[in-house]
C-alpha cells in the first residue's frame, strides 16, 4: 500500500514537471521523423533490391547449358534490406549489399576460368560531400536521448528530497527504506515510459498504416523484443541515477557526476575504444592479400604445367586440365573467403571491446534484432556460402545424372550436353533466422541484465546506508 502511494506521488510529481513536457516533445519529434524518413527510403531500397535480384535470377535461369552454368556460376547475390531498418541503421549503407560470382579471370582456347565467390567492398561515401550525421534510428533515440532523459528524471530523486527535508519526513513514517526506493524507481520508470511508449506507438502507427512497408508476424515479434530491451536499458540508467543520487548530498553534484558518466560512457567510450581496438589485430592490407593470392595461384598453375608435361595422352591431359580449372577456382574462392573473414574479424573484435559501454550493447542488440549491421551481414555471407555449396552440388548431381557424359567437369567437351531445365536450378534466398539472432544476442542480453542488477543492488545499498 505504501509502495503504491509513493509510486503515485512520484508519478504525480513528475507528470506536472517541465522535464516531462520537454521529454515528450523531444521523443515525439525524433520518433516521427524516424518514421517519415523510413517510409520515404524503404520502398526505394526494396525496389532497387527486387529489380537487381530479379535480373540476376533471370540471367541465371536463362542459361540452359550445364557448362555455362558451371563456368559462369550463380551471378550476383543480393542482401535483402530489412524492413526494421528504422530500429537500427547499423551502418548498413556502409556495408556491401551483394556478393558476386565472378568468372572473368582467364581464358584459353580450350577452357575458361570457373566462377568463384568474390566479396566486393562498399565505399559509398567517396562521392558524398555532405556533412556527417548520425542516423536518427531507434538505437539513437534509445541509446542517447532516452538514457539522458532517464538521468534527468532520477538525479534528484533522493538528494533532492534530502535537500528539501521531505525525505526525513517520509522516513519518519513506518515505511521500510526499500519500499521507498522501489516506489521511486517505479515512479520514475513509469513517468519516463509514458512519453517513450507514446512516441514508439506513434512511430509504429505511422509506419504500419502506410502501405509502403509491410510488417509480418516475425517483424512484430522482433519489435516486441526490441521494446523489451529498450526498457531494460532504461532501467539501467534509472538505477544509475538513483545510485548516484543516494550517494551524493547535493542534487547539483549528483547531476554533474551523472552527466560526466553519461558523456564518457555513452558518447566517447564506444568511439575511442573502437578506434584503439581496431588496431590490435589489423587485417592484411589489400596489396599483401593480392600478392599472397598471386603466389598461391602461380603455384597451382606451375603444378599443372609440370603435370601436363608428363603425359602426351590427350584424354589424360584433359583430365589434368579439368582438375586445374576446379582447383584454381576453389583455391581462389577459399583465399577470398579467408580474407573477408580477416577483415570482418578486425571490425567485430573492435566492436566486442566497446561492450563495456551500455550504449554499444544496446546498439548491437538492436542491430541484431532489426536485422541490420555487421551481424546481419555475417548471416548474409553465411547464406551465400551455403548457397555456394548447394549450387556446386547441383552442378555435380546434374552431371552425374547424365550417363552419356564423360564427366570431366571444367571442360566444355567433358560435360553433359543435356539441356538444364530452369526450374531445377537452385535460387538464392536470403533468410534471417531468429534463433541465430538470439545466439548472437545472448551474451549482450546477459551483460545488460547484469549491469542493471548490479546498479540496482548498489542503489539499494547506498540508500539503506544513507543518513537523512
Amino acid at each position: 500500500m505504501a509502495l503504491l502511494n509513493i509510486t503515485w506521488r512520484e508519478l504525480y510529481d513528475n507528470l506536472n514537471s517541465l522535464r516531462f513536457a520537454l521529454a515528450t516533445v523531444l521523443l515525439l519529434a525524433l520518433m516521427l521523423t524516424n518514421a517519415v524518413v523510413h517510409l520515404r527510403e524503404h520502398p526505394v531500397r526494396m525496389q532497387k533490391y527486387r529489380d537487381a535480384a530479379t535480373q540476376s535470377v533471370n540471367t541465371l535461369t536463362s542459361r540452359t547449358d550445364l557448362y555455362d552454368l558451371a563456368q559462369k556460376g550463380p551471378g550476383r547475390l543480393y542482401k535483402k534490406p530489412s524492413p526494421l531498418r528504422f530500429c537500427a541503421d547499423g551502418g548498413d549503407s556502409l556495408l556491401p549489399t551483394l556478393t558476386d560470382a565472378a568468372s572473368y579471370f582467364w581464358s584459353t582456347n580450350t577452357s575458361k576460368s570457373f566462377w568463384r565467390m568474390t566479396y566486393p567492398s562498399a565505399t559509398p561515401n567517396l562521392k558524398n560531400i555532405d556533412p556527417d550525421a548520425t542516423q536518427i534510428d531507434w538505437a539513437f533515440v534509445i541509446g542517447y536521448v532516452l538514457s539522458l532523459i532517464a538521468l534527468l528524471f532520477t538525479f534528484d530523486a533522493v538528494s533532492g528530497e534530502r535537500e528539501q527535508g521531505t525525505l526525513r519526513l517520509m522516513l519518519a513514517n513506518p515505511i521500510p527504506r526499500h519500499t521507498v526506493l522501489i516506489g521511486k524507481f517505479l515512479g520514475a520508470f513509469i513517468s519516463v515510459n509514458i512519453p517513450f511508449v507514446i512516441a514508439v506507438l506513434m512511430n509504429l502507427l505511422v509506419i504500419s498504416t502506410s502501405n509502403a512497408v509491410h510488417l509480418g508476424v516475425d517483424e512484430w515479434g522482433r519489435l516486441g523484443i526490441i521494446v523489451g530491451i529498450a526498457l531494460l536499458y532504461l532501467c539501467l540508467f534509472l538505477a544509475l541515477g538513483l545510485l548516484v543520487s543516494a550517494c551524493v548530498k547535493q542534487s547539483a553534484v549528483s547531476l554533474v557526476i551523472l552527466l560526466l558518466i553519461w558523456v564518457s560512457f555513452v558518447i566517447f567510450m564506444p568511439n575511442t575504444l573502437a578506434s584503439i581496438a581496431s588496431r590490435f589485430s589489423p587485417a592484411r592490407s589489400y596489396d599483401a592479400f593480392q600478392e599472397d593470392r598471386r603466389q598461391k595461384r602461380r603455384a597451382v598453375l606451375e603444378a599443372y604445367y609440370t603435370q601436363r608435361e608428363k603425359t602426351e595422352d590427350p584424354s589424360k591431359r584433359m583430365l589434368i586440365q579439368s582438375e586445374y580449372v576446379t582447383e584454381d577456382a576453389m583455391q581462389d574462392g577459399r583465399l577470398r573467403q579467408a580474407y573477408l573473414s580477416e577483415r570482418i574479424a578486425q571490425v567485430s573484435q573492435a566492436q566486442t571491446i566497446t561492450r563495456i559501454s551500455p550504449v554499444a550493447i544496446i546498439q548491437h542488440l538492436l542491430e541484431v534484432f532489426a536485422g541490420t549491421g555487421l551481424e546481419r551481414h555475417l548471416q548474409f555471407v553465411d547464406n551465400v556460402q551455403l548457397y555456394d555449396r548447394e549450387y556446386r552440388e547441383f552442378i555435380a548431381d546434374t552431371e552425374r545424372a547424365d550417363p552419356e557424359s564423360p564427366h570431366i567437369i571444367g571442360i566444355r567437351d567433358g560435360m553433359s550436353k543435356k539441356k538444364v531445365s530452369p526450374e531445377a536450378i537452385p535460387i538464392f534466398e536470403d533468410t534471417l533466422s531468429l534463433s541465430k539472432d538470439f545466439n548472437a544476442a545472448a551474451m549482450d542480453m546477459l551483460l545488460l541484465t547484469l549491469f542493471v542488477v548490479v546498479l540496482l543492488a548498489g542503489a539499494y545499498l547506498a540508500f539503506v546506508r544513507v543518513e537523512v
Partner: protein, 501 residues
C-alpha cells in the same frame, strides 16, 4: 568594484566539484583521443607514402604514352586530428588522363585500409570540445542568476551601489576564465603530444590555424555559457533552469544536427538540371565521336577500324563510361603494344596520323564537356550539400564545426583545393605530351622502337592553402558566433535589468 565581483565569482567557480570533474574528464578524453588520432594519422601518412611510391614506379614502367594514366595521391591533412571533416572520407587517389578533367567524384580510396572499418565511427578533438565544453558551459551558467536569486544573495549584492551590468560582466568574465582552463590545458597537452611525434611536422601556418581553432572554440564556449545565463535570467528556480538548459543542450548538440540532415537527406535520383547537363555533355561527346568516325572513314586507310588491323602482345579497348549522378561521361580508349610484328609496318603511319588528330580532339572535347560539367556540379551536388551546411548553422554546433573545418582545411573547399591542383597538374602532363610530340609519335601505342620517356615528367606536388585563405573561409562562421554572443549578451542584459529581485 568589478574586480571584487570577479574575484568572488572566480573563487566560487574554481572551488566547485564540477570544475574539478570537468577538468579531469576533458583532459582525459583529449589526451586519450589525441594518442589514437595521431596513430591514425601516422597510418594514413604511411599508406599515402607507399601509394605515392607505387604510382611513381608504375608510371615509369609504362611502355607507351597511351598506357600512361598518371595517378596522383592526396596527402592526409595533419590538422584532421582537430577536425577530420571530409579529409578521411573522400577519395585520396585519382587518375589523370587527357580525356577527362578530374574532379573529386572520380577519386578512389587507395586500397590499404579495411573498408569494413567505416562502420565504426571516430571522433576528433573538436568533437570532444563540441560536446563536453558546451555541457560544461551550461553547468556553470544555469544557477548563476537563478541560484543567487533563490538564495537571496542577489538581493544582498544589489543593496550595494553596484551596477547590474557590472554583475553580469563579472559573472561572464570569471566563468569564461574558469572554462578556459580545461580548454587551454587540454589543448596544450594535445600540442605537446603532437610536437613530440616526429612524423607530424607543423609549420608556422599550422600554428596559425590552430590559433584560429582555439579562438573559435572560445567563441563557441561563450555562446553556450550565454545561453545558460539567459535561461538562468528568465527562470525563477534553479531546478527549472537546469532542466531547460539540459534539454536545450540535447536539442542543439544531439538532436538538431542529425534531425535536420535526416529530414532533407537527398535521394539518388538526379535532378532535372543534372539530367539536362548530362545530356548536353553526352551530345558534346557524340559530336566528337561522329567526327572521329568521319575521320576514320575518310582517311587513306580503308574501313573504320580504329586499330588499323594492328595486333600483337598488348591490348586495345574503347568505350564510353558514364555516371549520371556525378555527370561523368567520356571517351576512354587505349591502344598499347609492347612489340609489333613487321607485317604491320604499313599500317603504323595511318595509326600515327589518326592519333595525331584524335588526342588533341579528345582534349578539346574534354575541356568543352568540363565547362558544362563544372557549372552543373556547382548547381546540383555542391549547392545541395552547401544548403545542408547552411541549415546546420541554425545550431551553434554547426557554426563551430564549419569554422574549425575551415581553419583545419578539411572542409569541402579545402579538399577541393587539392583537386584544383590536380586539374592544374593535368595541364602540365598534357603540355609534357605536346613537348614530347607524344600523340604523333609511334611511342603513343607501340614500344618496339623504344619505350615512352617518363623521366622528365614533372612530379605532382600539393601545398595546402595558406593560413590567410583558411582565415577567409572561417571568418564568416566565426563572425556569426561572435554576433550570436553579442546578441545573447544584450538579451540577458535587458532581461536582467528589468527583472525583479
Amino acid at each position: 568594484m568589478l574586480k571584487t565581483l570577479i574575484g568572488r565569482e572566480l573563487l566560487d567557480n574554481l572551488m566547485t566539484f564540477r570544475f574539478a570533474a570537468v577538468l579531469l574528464i576533458t583532459l582525459l578524453l583529449v589526451v586519450a583521443n589525441t594518442v589514437v588520432l595521431i596513430k591514425d594519422y601516422e597510418q594514413r601518412l604511411e599508406s599515402y607514402n607507399t601509394s605515392v611510391q607505387t604510382h611513381h614506379k608504375e608510371i615509369q614502367e609504362k611502355e607507351t604514352y597511351s598506357a600512361g594514366e598518371v595517378e596522383v595521391d592526396r596527402p592526409p591533412n595533419p590538422l584532421s586530428i582537430f577536425n577530420v571533416g571530409l579529409d578521411k572520407r573522400l577519395g585520396n587517389e585519382i587518375w589523370i588522363a587527357h580525356n577527362n578533367v578530374p574532379t573529386l567524384w572520380e577519386a578512389r580510396m587507395n586500397a590499404s585500409d579495411n573498408p569494413y572499418l567505416n562502420i565504426l565511427s571516430s571522433i576528433d578533438i573538436v568533437f570532444i570540445f563540441e560536446v563536453v565544453l558546451s555541457l560544461m558551459a551550461l553547468l556553470f551558467a544555469y544557477d548563476a542568476l537563478a541560484g543567487e536569486r533563490e538564495q537571496g544573495t542577489l538581493r544582498l549584492v544589489l543593496t550595494h551601489p553596484v551596477r547590474r551590468g557590472h554583475i553580469l560582466l563579472a559573472k561572464y568574465i570569471s566563468a569564461m576564465l574558469c572554462l578556459l582552463v580545461p580548454l587551454l590545458l587540454s589543448l596544450i597537452l594535445a600540442m605537446l603530444l603532437l610536437t613530440t611525434t616526429t612524423t607530424i611536422s607543423m609549420g608556422a601556418d599550422d600554428f596559425g590555424r590552430i590559433g584560429g581553432i582555439v579562438l573559435t572554440s572560445i567563441a563557441y564556449l561563450s555562446v553556450f555559457y550565454l545561453i545558460g545565463l539567459f535561461i538562468s535570467a528568465v527562470t525563477q528556480r534553479t531546478g527549472t533552469a537546469l532542466m531547460l538548459a539540459m534539454f536545450v543542450w540535447g536539442a542543439l548538440v544531439l538532436v538538431y544536427p542529425n534531425l535536420i540532415l535526416a529530414i532533407i537527406r537527398s535521394s539518388d535520383i538526379p535532378e532535372a538540371k543534372a539530367v539536362s547537363a548530362f545530356n548536353e555533355i553526352k551530345q558534346v561527346w557524340d559530336e566528337f565521336d561522329r567526327e572521329r568516325k568521319h575521320f576514320l572513314a575518310t582517311d587513306a586507310f580503308p574501313g573504320e577500324d580504329p586499330t588499323f588491323n594492328i595486333n600483337g602482345m598488348g591490348f586495345f579497348y574503347e568505350h564510353f563510361p558514364e555516371n549520371r549522378l556525378t555527370l561523368l561521361y567520356l571517351y576512354n580508349s587505349m591502344m598499347t603494344f609492347g612489340e609489333l610484328d613487321e607485317k604491320f609496318e604499313e599500317e603504323v603511319p595511318h595509326a600515327q596520323n589518326y592519333f595525331q588528330y584524335l588526342i588533341p580532339s579528345t582534349i578539346n572535347t574534354a575541356e568543352r564537356a568540363w565547362l558544362i560539367r563544372k557549372q552543373a556540379l556547382e548547381d546540383t551536388l555542391v549547392r545541395k550539400s552547401n544548403m545542408k551546411r547552411t541549415l546546420l548553422k541554425f545550431s551553434p554546433v554547426g557554426m563551430y564545426d564549419a569554422a574549425t573545418q575551415a581553419w583545419a582545411g578539411t572542409d569541402l573547399k579545402g579538399v577541393r583545393d587539392f583537386f584544383d591542383a590536380v586539374r592544374h597538374y593535368r595541364q602540365t602532363v598534357i603540355d609534357y605530351f605536346y613537348n614530347k610530340n607524344a600523340f604523333a609519335s609511334r611511342k603513343w601505342f607501340a614500344a618496339d622502337e623504344g619505350a615512352a620517356d617518363w623521366r622528365t615528367l614533372p612530379a605532382f606536388s600539393f601545398k595546402r592553402s595558406g593560413v590567410e585563405i583558411n582565415a577567409k573561409r572561417a571568418l564568416p562562421d566565426l563572425f556569426l558566433l561572435l554576433t550570436m554572443n553579442l546578441f545573447l549578451f544584450m538579451m540577458i542584459f535587458l532581461v536582467f535589468i528589468k527583472s525583479e529581485v
